[in-house]
């Protein structure tokens, strides 16, 4: 499956295998992993929530955009939701392409677009509370006024 939203542990090798072809000379796999700190605070765990139907639809749109823009045929994206422990993989983007350059470029764009438009939210849980990531960071920024325009 080229697009996946799952509560299960992500298997990057399996996802990478989806985009391998004998016609491709390059495979780029990006792993997003959960970080154990935020501004000096220890993060105990992360909780991901998604608007499932829309997230899957928008992930497929991003995938189609990338394939059109970079002339690719193999793009696979898996995002984990639910409770994710520290140091685990929350996102896998795998891009197979005839040559490396479009693969690297497409991979960077894929992750940027995912962070901009996919309705998925991440909550950092601390010893003494929790925080929806991006909300406090971006809620007061002017570009938010034009929609989901912020980036990380």
């Amino acid at each position: 499956m080229m697009i996946e939203l799952t509560e299960d542990t992500l298997n990057p090798e399996k996802i990478t295998e989806l985009v391998r072809r004998d016609t491709n000379g390059s495979v780029i796999t990006f792993l997003g992993t959960t970080r154990d700190n935020f501004e000096g605070k220890t993060v105990l765990t992360l909780e991901y929530e998604a608007f499932d139907e829309m997230a899957v639809k928008k992930l497929e749109e991003v995938r189609q955009e990338l394939m059109a823009e970079f002339g690719l045929e193999q793009v696979a994206i898996s995002h984990r939701i639910g409770t994710v422990g520290i140091g685990e993989i929350s996102l896998v983007v795998a891009i197979g392409s005839p040559h490396r350059k479009e693969g690297f470029n497409a991979c960077q764009k894929a992750v940027d677009r995912i962070k901009e438009v996919i309705p998925i939210w991440k909550k950092e849980v601390y010893q003494d509370g929790s925080r929806w990531v991006a909300c406090e960071d971006h809620e007061f920024s002017p570009e938010q006024a034009s929609g989901q325009g912020h980036s990380h």
Partner: protein, 81 residues
Amino acid sequence: MELNVRLFALYRERAGKNIVTVAVADGATVSDLTDEVRRQIPNLAPPGVKIVVAVNTDYADSEVVLQPGDDVCLIPPVSGG
């Protein structure tokens, strides 16, 4: 018309519920709907912050006209990845 508006993540927690029922006039726009939601749940988002809305699983501009039965969701700032 009455619309059942779904809330996620930060908005769900601030509202204390995952669905809010909102009554708007026929021909109401997304912007009319968010005005009404703000009246019902004043702490949902600070006044200067635009509330992003999805209608039928696509982002909808403020001038989009709502139809009875539309699937309307409020989308707080996203943070996937």
